[in-house]
Symmetry: C2
Subunit: 552 residues, 2 copies
């Protein structure tokens, strides 16, 4: 069965070396031949013994290793497969399902237990020798390697008492057939149960956590074995939630009349300042990876698409190894016309996030609770009034100064990460909300295309959205007049040449009638990180990229 499956990895013989002592070599070869013959004899004896045992194995048709599905030896059975989430509908009935092995253990020659997993569900299965079920089968079941993929047939039974080691506690499986569809090699490079335990705190990678038998596994080891790591329940939950955020983002905006767009990720010129941009070889010339869809989404506004959104990769060649930076992440972008005030856009952003939070609580509570429980993270607090705190930047500065921890913070300075976090704590205290908006940022700390504030020329019609004191979205009203835009670019620090290739097309797009507009760009991974309270953003990327890591 499944011959391809057991073929040696590389059968080529090692190249011969020039002999120094022909006699010694001959002697060695003789010993080798003898050993080989002995091994062959042993193998034959074992096979005969096994054949004899098989002869009396009443269960031999009911267990074993399947041939590779879809290959010439494989015969489909056309048996319907059951989702274990529906097990309550099948009590006392025979069910067949695919699953994988969390662990298997022989209790005795006649009894074995397995923990079987399917998605986020685990169930206990028992196999007991009887007149109709051989000890050989019990042995086979009890020694299946952890993480092997199985097809199991058994009776779904009410459990005599709740099974605490499984997520399905009220039912168990009495195994009738067990086939290994794909065996897992041993040893595993990483234990899935280790991947389900928390990351060690930075600098304490080798410390054994209190009450734990083994040291916690470092993030690097996990990421080096990412396909095993990802099997952990916490990781399945994180990525189901991540998809949820993306889905809720487009769902909400679609209802509001936004259309999804795809702007190019390869761009001919390093626009937007040119720093932190990846360069590539584009046939015979250089090109660059887009650091954001900013210019393009605005150009689509000038092309009369009134509301656009984009979900796509964003590339930043920033050589910083923090717990909240990635060199490739998923941007959730939107840009829209507004009628008379950029707060129309801010309102859409606030309502969007409230919708996402509400629906995460409604649709992904199980996954959220599972992840937060591992890191002992507080619930995400939202204002009872339903009104998102909207704090003008100068007021934020005042709060920080009065608090005393940062008495020196400047009126027109950007906030540092510690200042942002402190302000988040103050806002939570005052408004009871982990989510808030800081409005009217200083003009000097924002991009050149930001519309200055009508009230104070040193401020701007721009805003950031925060979760748990950390920025998740930056946005603004954009300048929709080509001449003012070019002027602000020239006066920007550092200055931007409005006539440079790539930039010129953007500036010129505002010459032929353009509506007032604004938007924002979210980092999807950050939303997930701060929603769940995770210690590192890499945990929210399936295959994260940072200055040190481009694999797997």
């Amino acid at each position: 069965m499944a011959e391809e499956n057991t073929a040696p990895a590389a059968g080529a013989a090692a190249p011969t070396e020039p002999s120094k002592n022909a006699l010694k070599k001959a002697q060695k070869e003789k010993e080798k031949a003898e050993k080989k013959a002995a091994a062959k004899a042993r193998e034959l004896a074992e096979r005969q013994k096994k054949d004899a045992a098989d002869a009396e194995d009443v269960s031999k048709e009911n267990y074993g290793e399947l041939p590779l599905t879809g290959s010439k030896d494989f015969k489909p059975t056309n048996t319907p497969r059951v989702d274990l989430a529906t097990i309550a509908d099948h009590v006392d009935k025979e069910i067949t399902f695919r699953c994988w092995v969390e662990n298997a253990r022989s209790q005795s020659a006649k009894l074995a237990f397995l923990n079987l997993r399917q998605g986020l569900n685990t169930v206990q299965a028992v196999v007991a020798a009887s007149a109709g079920l051989s000890k050989q089968m019990v042995k086979f079941c009890g020694t299946v390697s952890t993480e092997s993929t199985l097809v199991v047939t058994g009776l779904a039974k009410k459990a005599p008492e709740p099974i605490k080691s499984a997520t399905i506690q009220d039912f168990e499986i009495h195994i009738q057939k067990l086939f290994v569809e794909k065996a897992a090699e041993v040893p595993l490079p990483l234990q899935v149960e280790d991947a389900d335990r928390p990351l060690p705190t930075e600098g304490e990678e080798d410390k054994v956590a209190e009450g734990d038998a083994r040291p916690l596994v470092s993030l690097n080891t996990r990421l080096n074995n990412r396909t095993i790591d990802l099997r952990a329940k916490i990781n399945h939950s994180i990525f189901v939630i991540k998809y949820g955020v993306e889905k809720l983002f487009t769902e909400f905006l679609d209802k509001q009349g936004f259309i999804g767009v795809k702007t190019p990720k390869i761009i001919g010129a390093a626009s937007e300042g040119g720093a932190n941009v990846f360069e590539l070889k584009y046939f015979d010339r250089p090109a660059y990876l887009a650091q954001s869809p900013q210019f393009y989404k605005q150009m689509l506004i000038t092309a009369r698409f009134p509301k656009v959104m984009e979900v796509g990769p964003v590339f930043r060649a920033e050589n910083s190894n923090t717990a909240r930076h990635l060199t490739e992440f998923t941007g959730l972008d939107l840009e829209m016309e507004f009628q008379e005030h950029y707060h129309e856009v801010m309102r859409v952003l606030e309502d969007l996030m409230l919708y996402i939070f509400q629906e995460l609580n409604a649709r992904y509570k199980k996954e959220t609770d599972l992840v937060r429980s591992v890191y002992k993270v507080d619930d995400f607090k939202l204002p009872e009034s339903g009104k998102v705190p909207r704090i003008p930047f100068p007021e934020g500065i005042k709060m920080l100064r009065e608090d005393g921890q940062f008495p020196e913070v400047g009126e027109y300075d950007d906030l540092t990460t510690p200042q942002e976090k402190r302000l988040g704590a103050l806002v939570l205290e005052k408004y009871g909300s982990d989510f808030y908006v800081l409005d009217q940022f200083p003009l000097a700390v924002r991009p050149a295309y930001t519309m200055p504030s009508p009230e104070n020329p040193k401020l701007s019609n721009s805003y950031d959205l925060f979760m748990r004191g950390q920025e998740i979205c930056s946005g603004a009203q954009r300048i929709h007049d080509a001449e003012l835009l070019a002027k602000m670019m020239r006066e920007h620090d550092p200055p931007i040449d409005p006539n440079a290739p790539g930039t010129k097309e953007y500036v010129d797009s505002f010459r032929y009638g353009a509506p007032p507009h604004g938007g924002g760009g979210f980092g999807l991974e950050r939303i997930v990180q701060f929603w769940l309270g995770l210690p590192n953003i890499r945990m929210t990327s399936l295959f994260p990229r940072d200055p040190q890591r481009v694999a797997p």
Copy 2:
């Protein structure tokens, strides 16, 4: 008003040149000064005249140029804005709306007409001088530049007879106020109405189409002025449909339990053979742009995500300038476990496409009809039975041979584009369907990770999906056994090293229990192109990328 708006583009004086003839220069300067004085006098006279006119302009508060919205001179009016699609609900009422100018023309000193556009809708507006509406205002309205953005207030009136030049034929607007929110510069680099006419046939770029006054505009000129080009109704329709296809793709698969994933676009090694891959500088080492999410989506299957989908950019450094290749396009990818037969996957792909076609017809009929009418394209035919023709590759070859146009086509050769197109025509004739599946491709023409066919080792468990005789999706059962996979890679033409960085992680991921699985990858732009019958795939990308083009 709006000083920023009218500031000169660059105010710096030209550098002085060393004089050759001082006298001549003095004379010239005198003439210049005189001219300047005369101009100033004229300007003063005109201003006085204008002031006098203004004095008697009863409408002067009701038209003009608005200050830049959101700037310090701008005062919000808080007037609700109306969507012209709902005009029938506002008959004989005053409405205010944003729109842009398709054209404006003065009929007389007392009467002007404008064609106003909002989205895909256009409406005729009329402004007539009266006791309460000045001739100055009529003149202003009649001379507004094409493509300017306006805010118009007027009465919605039943049209005395159907207005053929507008999409809204039963109503018109009697203008009361008209403000230019953002004027369009003149001349436009491209006329939007030209962008709404078809592309010239290749090689006939300068030929004037029958019955047309002007030559058709080439694709290159359109793409060089893409933000104007995109305003055309045909282009708005194409991109609404494109978003529709993406939305329907995720909507259908979401209901089937797929989760959306984001795999990295920057990869550390040029896997999948290494040809046609873009290289980039990743800090101090080379990296590459992903040519597909193939390896990653399969690695997610090994990580026990049973059904994954991804919408994301795909990069191909193919130096071919055909009407159906892009160097960057949107991949619609999916990968799933199956239980016992890869046709389970094929069925999902077929049902997915049938759903997309059905819903495109239901939700995007207006846009589809608009685009097809420009290129006189036939409806997309689907089998009346609802059963997608599934043609085994050998049968496809037989059809082609019997047809006679390609009698020499080999049993185990890949099909050329002309052969594919011919086969599409034969299938349409025989099965009445523009959509079909070719199953069991020759193993030798498929990627190394394709599962060989159990019936014939020279064939494989792989398939392509076709629309109008052109491939839109390629897919297969993948090998889920590490040893067989490595063997097939080594034996592949050209061979692939299963131990090469990037490839090794992929191969090894199948060592720890992996279910049988399959999937497929669609090109979103191709689906749109063939659904609409467009002559060039560049028309389906907002800012297309090909070997010659990385801008705008």
